[in-house]
């Protein structure tokens, strides 16, 4: 339930955040996912348009990941094999959604039913503590703590479950001017289990971000090619 709520929350925020500020975006990305057992570094290009995301992974393997509403498609051009995940909830790419949240003054949290409970002054900025007003959210989440530096840039987001248990913390840095906006080029999310052990660490480094860029036709019209071996999975 927590995952469903968080995923819905992130997607709604990204939709709200994306609103008038960023309609389309293209970026070169490097994503490192580390678990206690292994680490995988992927490189590729990310396209964002019409609330959809196409992630063209070029290394270590050719892969196309397409997030669209309730479906996630993963296509392997080399073997012409694909997985089509149909979910009851909207599919999202959390690392990228965080980037979209940073362009909103309050990460869009107020519109999502969070209220600002208090502000704490820190040495180099402030921490804004948001708590859920929605009863269903309150059962899962205790608070969102957003740290903003002296320049008004979001530097970290910490999510706490009931009992002040740290669920995840996201460090956001390397802000650069991109169009009329200042966007972060490095996002690192660490997720913890109930015992406080690190479960995963997800780092996304972005380069060559172009806001409101022209999206190639092949990307806009992406679909699984005919003749591909598709395995459909309903969640």
């Amino acid at each position: 339930m927590k995952k469903i709520l968080l995923a819905a929350l992130i997607l709604i925020v990204s939709a709200l955040a994306f609103g008038d500020r960023i309609n389309k975006l293209v970026a070169v990305v490097n994503i490192e996912v580390t678990t206690p057992k292994e680490s995988t570094v992927s490189e590729g290009r990310l396209f964002y348009f019409d609330y959809k995301i196409l992630l063209e992974v070029t290394a270590p393997i050719q892969q196309k990941m397409f997030f669209s509403e309730n479906t996630l498609s993963i296509y392997y051009p080399a073997s012409k094999k694909a997985f089509l995940f149909r979910s009851r909830i909207t599919q999202t790419f959390p690392l990228f959604a965080v980037l979209l949240m940073t362009v909103e003054d309050d990460l869009g949290l107020t519109q999502l039913g969070f209220k600002l409970e208090r502000t704490e002054k820190k040495k180099h900025g402030k921490v804004f503590v948001f708590v859920p007003e929605n009863e269903m959210l309150r059962k899962e989440l205790e608070s969102y703590e957003v740290e903003i530096d002296g320049d008004g840039l979001v530097t970290s987001i910490r999510v706490f479950a009931k009992g002040r248990r740290l669920v995840s913390e996201t460090a956001i840095s390397d802000y650069k001017e991109t169009g009329n906006l200042k966007l972060p080029h490095f996002i690192n999310t660490i997720k913890y289990d109930a015992k406080g052990n690190v479960v995963t660490s997800e780092k996304m480094t972005m380069d060559s971000i172009i806001v409101n860029a022209m999206i190639p036709k092949r990307v806009k019209e992406f679909s699984l090619p005919e003749g591909a071996e598709v395995e459909e999975i309903d969640w």
Binding site: V33, T35, P60, L72, W235
Partner: protein, 148 residues
């Protein structure tokens, strides 16, 4: 009598609670880990998916569902399949993705169903204790009336 009843309730809750606080053993399903086979993107998908599912599935929530909704909660736990996080499949080949997805789904479903069942059993135990208390109370009251 009231004291004994509440003590029995506490025991029932504690009994159910031991399952939840027990070590979160990784459940490896879908056959033995294929240590001989190497994947182009490295790592063992069966172990990775089992650990991921054990971590991501909300055990408390499913225990609560079993407790509140009984067998309906258990049924829902069996039918609702958890979805793996997309980042875990990034950079992984098709073979890895297939095995990871299948095992994540099965392991997650197994954990959900297990904890929903624990919740259901706890609910059943509480209800049984309640009826036992009522029967004992009734017996005592009727005994008193008899002696009068």
């Amino acid at each position: 009598m009231k004291k004994a009843f509440f003590m029995l309730i506490l025991l029932a809750v504690a009994f159910s609670g031991t399952f939840m606080s027990a070590e979160q053993n990784v459940i490896i399903m879908g056959g033995q880990p294929q240590q001989q086979q190497s994947y182009s993107s490295g790592g063992d998908p069966i172990t990775a998916s089992a650990i991921a599912a054990a971590t991501h599935v909300n055990k408390m929530m499913w225990w609560g569902a079993g407790c509140l909704f009984g067998l309906l909660g258990v049924g829902a736990a069996y039918l609702i399949e958890p979805s793996p996080p997309a980042t875990m499949l990034m950079g992984k080949d098709a073979n890895y993705a297939a095995i990871f997805t299948e095992n994540y789904k099965n392991t997650g479903k197994s954990i959900q169903t297990k904890y929903a069942l624990y919740g259901c059993l706890a609910e059943g135990l509480l209800i049984s204790l309640y009826y036992l208390f009522v029967i004992i109370l009734f017996a005592e009251v009727t005994d008193d009336l008899y002696y009068y």
